[in-house]
């Protein structure tokens, strides 16, 4: 007579495999006389059927679009050698003839030592030293969106392939404003930044081409949105707002991306300190944010609803990260924070819940700062005094990977289908780099 443990293992084995007659006989003999094992075996079979017939879960609409686009191009996300050779010949011919071709190759001129693997995109309308900055990028319906600021004010760019960009019209009231963040979600894309005076600070777009202020005006006017995070069932934006008594911390929440609710404004003489938050991430239930005190340490805040924030503390001592944190990302295992540590090196910290933070090892971490991290915490970008840096989580460790040459700084990063983008500045003007994602990319 076999025992209960062996019976249950054999019953598990018999779910999708025929046992030899002798073993099968032993199993049946035990099950006949053992109700608990019979029930256990039936339960395992039921679990197997559940796993075999999981309820379908539709993918996000942008997945179908990305697959369709890739199928149209035959899945060639990396330019063929013929295309690369043609591009090289074009650049050489133009340079040799001393012709000015303006925006078409302006970015290539600007980054002559761009290494293989990263190509500088073309951004018509931007000139070296014009003060423009591209602060963030996102992939969504029909392609990519980048946001930032130019001398004229807030700026939105759109690209179908991540290489060729087009600046699109900005909504009224955005002169003098600058956008800092954009995410895919809600109606399509949500962007936020520092509004000018009473202008709007949050925007939405279905396709990245036509943008409009989010609403209602009373909620988004004068907003200074530093970060936006997507959580279960909604989005939270954090930053500050100009009030009669000066700037104070503020946050905004939305369920659909279009209609936002702003945190309560603290009246003059009010006792509540509203932190000026500069980074935010979703937890399973609630939100985690970092106060932007302009350096280390970075205090950690928690909110259940995205509107009321409280500093986290352990045994009466506030929780803080010993560094200058610039961005957060939610991963399957918790939250990652990126920035620079007290030793001046680019740094990443991880926490399962916001209470306990552990600095992650970065192989050959340079002196510099990481300013952005992708939404799943697999790559982070930033800069050193020599130019952009890119850190990837590969083979169980964070490593510095090849970044575009040519100087400048990386301010934003996004992964697309077979493509990754870095945005930032070079020579005092906005810049975009795109690279083909390879097999080993995190």
């Amino acid at each position: 007579m076999i025992d209960h443990v062996r019976t249950r293992l054999l019953a598990a084995d018999a779910i999708d495999r025929r046992l030899d007659p002798e073993t099968d006989g032993e199993l049946r003999a035990h099950l006949v006389g053992c109700a608990p094992c019979r029930s256990f075996a039936a339960g395992m079979s039921s679990d197997h059927r559940v796993l075999a017939n999981l309820s379908p879960v539709p993918t996000s609409p942008h997945v179908r679009e990305a697959v369709s686009r890739a199928a149209r191009t035959g899945g060639r996300t990396r330019p063929s050698w013929l295309v690369l050779a043609a591009m090289l010949l074009l650049v050489l011919a133009v340079a040799g003839a001393g012709l000015a071709v303006g925006a078409l190759i302006r970015q290539f001129d600007r980054s002559p030592d761009t290494r293989l693997g990263w190509l500088a995109g073309t951004v018509p309308g931007l000139e070296a030293g014009d003060g423009s900055r591209i602060r963030a990028a996102a992939g969504g319906p029909g392609g990519y969106v980048a946001v930032g600021g130019t001398a004229g004010g807030a700026a939105f760019w759109r690209s179908a392939d991540g290489m060729t960009w087009l600046e699109v019209a900005r909504p009224a009231g955005t002169d003098g404003a600058e956008l800092l963040v954009v995410v895919a979600g809600g109606p399509g894309f949500i962007a936020g930044g520092r509004a000018s005076a009473t202008g709007p600070g949050l925007f939405v777009s279905a396709d990245g081409m036509a943008w409009e202020p989010a609403g209602p005006p009373a909620a988004v006017s004068g907003a200074g949105v530093e970060a936006i995070a997507a959580g279960r069932g909604g989005w939270v934006a954090v930053g500050s707002v100009i009030t009669a008594t000066g700037a104070q911390g503020a946050s905004w929440v939305t369920l659909d991306g279009r209609t936002w609710q702003r945190s309560i404004e603290e009246p003059p003489g009010g006792e509540t300190v509203r932190p000026r938050l500069i980074a935010v991430a979703a937890l399973g239930t609630g939100w985690l944010a970092i106060e932007g005190a302009g350096g280390a340490p970075s205090d950690v805040y928690r909110s259940d609803d995205g509107l009321e924030w409280r500093p986290l503390s352990v045994e009466g001592r506030p929780v803080s990260i010993p560094g200058d944190v610039r961005a957060l990302a939610t991963t399957a295992a918790g939250v990652l924070a990126v920035g620079s540590a007290n030793d001046g090196r680019a740094a990443i910290w991880a926490s399962p819940d916001g209470f306990v933070w552990a600095r992650q090892s970065i192989v050959d971490a340079p002196r510099g700062v990481l300013t952005a991290i992708d939404r799943e915490g697999r790559a982070a970008v930033g800069s050193t005094q020599d130019g952009p840096i890119l850190a990837r989580f590969v083979a169980g460790a964070w490593r510095i990977d090849e970044a575009p040459g040519g100087g400048g700084e990386a301010l934003g990063y996004v992964r697309g289908a077979g493509l990754e983008l870095m945005v930032g500045t070079v020579n005092g003007s906005g810049a975009v780099w795109s690279g083909a994602r390879t097999e080993g990319d995190g």
């Binding site: 369709s68 890739a70 399973g284």
Partner: protein, 194 residues
Amino acid sequence: MGPVSDRSDTEPQAAIAVLERVVVRPRDLESEILAAFDEHEARLKAFALAAVRDGNAADDLVQESFLRLITEMRDGPAPDNVGAWLFRVCANLIASRGRRLSVARRWLPRLVDREVGRSPEDVIVRREGEDAVLAALGRLAPDARLALLLAAQGLDSAEIGAAIRKSPGATRTLICRSRARLRSLITGDEEAAL
């Protein structure tokens, strides 16, 4: 009409049909891919979601699986069983993703018990019984989780072992123990877990 006449009529037609399909007609890769996408994407997402428990990551895995399918079909015929092929590729992507996340995974058990809430996807589509199985599945080690999901898709131990880098024998043992462990977690009888 006798059988000989039948054969003489149909064989040339069948040959022509094959020629048209293979040689004459330009292949509409996009239509073929989108047809496969519409047929398999939601089941593949459910599979990936159960394995990685992150909607965005599951979307990425589905997308990457179809990009691999495009590459496969660009230069050759479609796999015999596109659905099974997609599940295998997705499983390999999950397994390699899991290896990359092995350090971060150390935090997972602590996170699962405290913070994971219900996404809109959970609320809309998951049945009660499925909820219980998926919740327990999330408490298994990633390799065990993936092995059970792949076994439920009909893959054998050798195929599953190739994805999780174990021998067929070790994979079979893992599957059996994981089934029993899953059941114990669902019934709350963890002391009886094997």
